[in-house]
Amino acid sequence: MENHNDSSGYWRANLRLIKVSLVIWALVSYGFGILLRPLLSGIRVGGTDISFWFAQQGALIVFIALIFFYAWRMNKLDKQYGVDEE
């Protein structure tokens, strides 16, 4: 490893990004979709509450957005820290 400091900076940046992403991942599925359902039952969507929508569709949309956001950010970080594939 010629750039040891840089690469550990790269790894820390990656871990930060993963943490933020997984918090959102858990919030939309376990939070909005399951545990927070009683609190959100007042918000109505198409004949039911918003938690039903999150559990059956909303979480999936956020999952897709999260993966593409992560891939895009990481590919930029790869270049920034000089660890991208040439």
Partner: protein, 622 residues
């Protein structure tokens, strides 16, 4: 043209396409056989991974599970998609950088231990074999229903097809065939759903139709569904789940199980770069979601259509007469997947929630006919009758109903959908081809995972490390052929564990493989002993918890406790235990690793290297 001819044409055309692709994509080296030479474009790989992932269960069973479970079945929708977020961030890019062919490859190298690799091989084989039996039987059912051959013949035809393109093409053949299979299964799933959604809601996109108004009733479709199922004594479709802990753990178990399933992970080894592995996860989820957005709509609308068929004048009016039932019910009664039992002898079909009275009556009839325990069955019927009379102040009893009279297997909803919605014959032919595409694409991916674990990890790593590339390719093909024969045999004679795909395959992948892979990448401190102890803890704890409730090795009568919520530990079902097994795995692995010597320097360098994408291209040849 008869429906049979149409089905033959559709299935025949799709098979001709797969054969053509297989011939064009023959594998010439082990790298092509195991990972398609590492040259698959991420969008194409996403499509292939989606087909690999979406099994007979996703295509045939999931909408039925949702139709029955309503909100509670959301677990499957979130669980089978959320795992791709974990794959994209925690596993796929680093395993691609590692640049070898199989999952046990990584575990063996990272934990510098043949034992660890062997445990991974065992986990992989149990999970994948359980899974592949389901695909073979699914294909057998599709053949026997649509092509009018018996189940065994159907299974053998399926095996021959998979044999041709999997043995010839390996991962390369499988990848490009899966792309074609994805297109076939998506079209087959979507077309009937679009027609049904248009008819019920006027919205051509089923996923949006689910949250729209019912055209005739003028109220949201989910509100209408809630009303009529409650009127029939069922739990409301959108009702909340009381046991939230179990729902959370079940969802989590499906997510980590998805991320840890070897046949999914190896698909990420086929792309040229680490960046492509990340994109692949995104594209895979896009392609999977096209089906998963439609599935809840198919489920809800199928349930509504079914109840409308039985109660054409509304659920407060008398049900349909048995003689007036539509043709599709007759067709499916012949297969035994729809059963009718006129308990109150009024010649009509009462479908409602009856405290298990209808099922108890069926059991009593069976016991009387086969000389079973008639006394016990009679007691069950009496108990159900008493409860039935109390239920909802006896409203069903007052209507002269003597128990639920119609038993509909949830699996037929998707297959019968075109008939229920009275769509033309070619749509039914398409559904046949789509169901087969879903079963065969997943079977091929699983068989490749099994055969590469045996030829690469067992034979090359342990028995004959000096085998040449050409020699290993030959061994890989022979292993694949044997795996197909074994899977077919198990499909014809399904063992007790075949029905436990969710518990066994996802439980083991989640409790044993996922934590080991993740710790191998994210911790430099986990050593060989820690990983071995952790994987064994995960594997054994999940197996014991399943066996205690479902019978030891699934032999009936050997279970220690009934498989019901009051007996589960903290209300956690055996299906949800994967997450707990994973937690135990992490704890044990850390405890043992910190109590023993850290991994040697070259292993720590290996971890550094998988974390950095640079240099991934060259690593594939070894």
């Amino acid at each position: 043209m008869s429906q049979f001819t149409i089905n033959i044409i559709f299935v025949g055309l799709s098979f001709a396409l797969y054969f053509g692709i297989a011939w064009w994509a023959r594998a010439g080296s082990t790298s092509e056989f195991y990972v398609a030479g590492g040259g698959v474009h991420p969008v194409m790989n996403g499509m292939a991974t989606a087909a690999d992932w979406m099994s007979a269960a996703s295509f045939i069973s999931m909408a039925g599970i949702i139709a029955t479970g309503g909100y509670a079945a959301s677990t499957y929708l979130m669980g089978w998609t959320g795992g791709y977020v974990l794959l994209a961030m925690l596993l796929a890019p680093y395993l691609r950088k590692f640049g070898k062919f199989t999952v046990p490859d990584f575990i063996g190298d990272r934990f510098y231990s043949k034992t660890a690799a062997m445990i991974a091989v065992v986990c992989l084989i149990i999970a994948s074999t359980t899974y592949v039996i389901g695909q073979m039987t699914g294909a057998g059912v599709a053949f026997s229903r649509f092509l009018e051959v018996d189940n065994t013949t159907g299974l053998i035809i399926a095996a021959v097809v998979v044999f041709f393109y999997a043995v010839l093409g390996g991962m390369k053949g499988i990848t490009y065939t899966q792309v074609a299979q994805y297109v076939v299964l998506m079209i087959a799933y979507t077309i009937p759903a679009v027609f049904i959604s248009l008819e019920l809601t006027g919205n051509p996109i089923p996923g949006l139709g689910l949250f729209s108004n019912h055209v005739e009733a003028g109220i949201p479709i989910l509100t209408k569904l809630d009303q009529i199922v409650v009127d029939l004594g069922f739990t409301a479709y959108t009702a909340d789940v009381p046991n939230k802990l179990n729902m959370v753990l079940f969802t989590l178990s499906l997510m980590i199980g998805t991320a840890g399933l070897p046949h999914v992970i190896i698909r990420f080894f086929t792309v040229p770069k680490v960046a492509d592995a990340r994109w692949t996860a995104g594209w895979t989820l896009v392609f999977i979601s096209l089906l998963y957005f439609t599935a809840p709509a198919v489920g809800a609308m199928a349930r509504l259509n079914l109840i409308d068929t039985i109660y054409p004048q509304g659920v407060d009016a008398p049900a349909i007469e048995y003689d007036q039932r539509p043709d599709w019910m007759k067709t499916w009664e012949d297969t035994g997947l729809i059963k009718y039992n006129d308990l109150n002898n009024d010649g009509r079909i009462q479908l409602y929630s009856d405290s298990g009275l209808g099922a108890a009556e069926l059991a009593l009839a069976a016991a009387t006919a086969d000389g079973g325990d008639v006394a016990a069955a009679t007691t069950t019927v009496e108990e159900a009758k008493a409860e039935h009379a109390l239920e909802r102040d006896g409203v069903f009893v007052d209507r002269g109903w003597a128990g639920n009279e119609l038993d509909v297997n949830a699996d037929i909803l998707v297959l019968a959908n075109p008939e229920i919605a009275q769509l033309p014959g070619w749509v039914i032919g398409l559904i046949a081809a789509g169901g087969l595409a879903a079963a065969l694409s997943t079977a091929a991916g699983l068989l490749l995972a099994i055969s590469s674990a045996i030829s690469h990890d067992l034979i090359k790593r342990n028995l004959n490390p000096n085998i040449t590339d050409a020699g290993e390719l030959k061994v890989a093909r022979i292993t694949m052929a044997i795996a197909i024969v074994v899977a077919t045999w198990l499909g014809i004679n399904p063992p007790g564990f075949a029905a436990q795909v969710v518990a066994l395959a996802f439980g083991i992948a989640g409790a044993s493989l996922f934590p080991a892979l993740m710790m191998g990448i994210f911790s430099k401190r986990i050593n060989n002993l820690g990983a071995i102890a952790g994987m064994l803890t995960g594997l054994i704890s999940i197996l014991v918890y399943i066996f205690v409730f479902k019978g030891w090795f699934f032999i009936t009568g050997t279970a220690n406790f009934p498989d019901t919520e009051e007996y589960w530990l903290f209300g956690i079902s055996p299906l949800s235990f994967g997450a707990i097994g994973a937690l135990l795995n992490f704890i044990v692995a850390f405890a043992v690793s910190y109590a023993t010597a850290p991994p040697p320097a070259h292993i720590q360098e290996l971890v550094e290297s998988v974390r950095s994408p640079r240099g991934a291209g060259g690593a594939i040849d070894h």
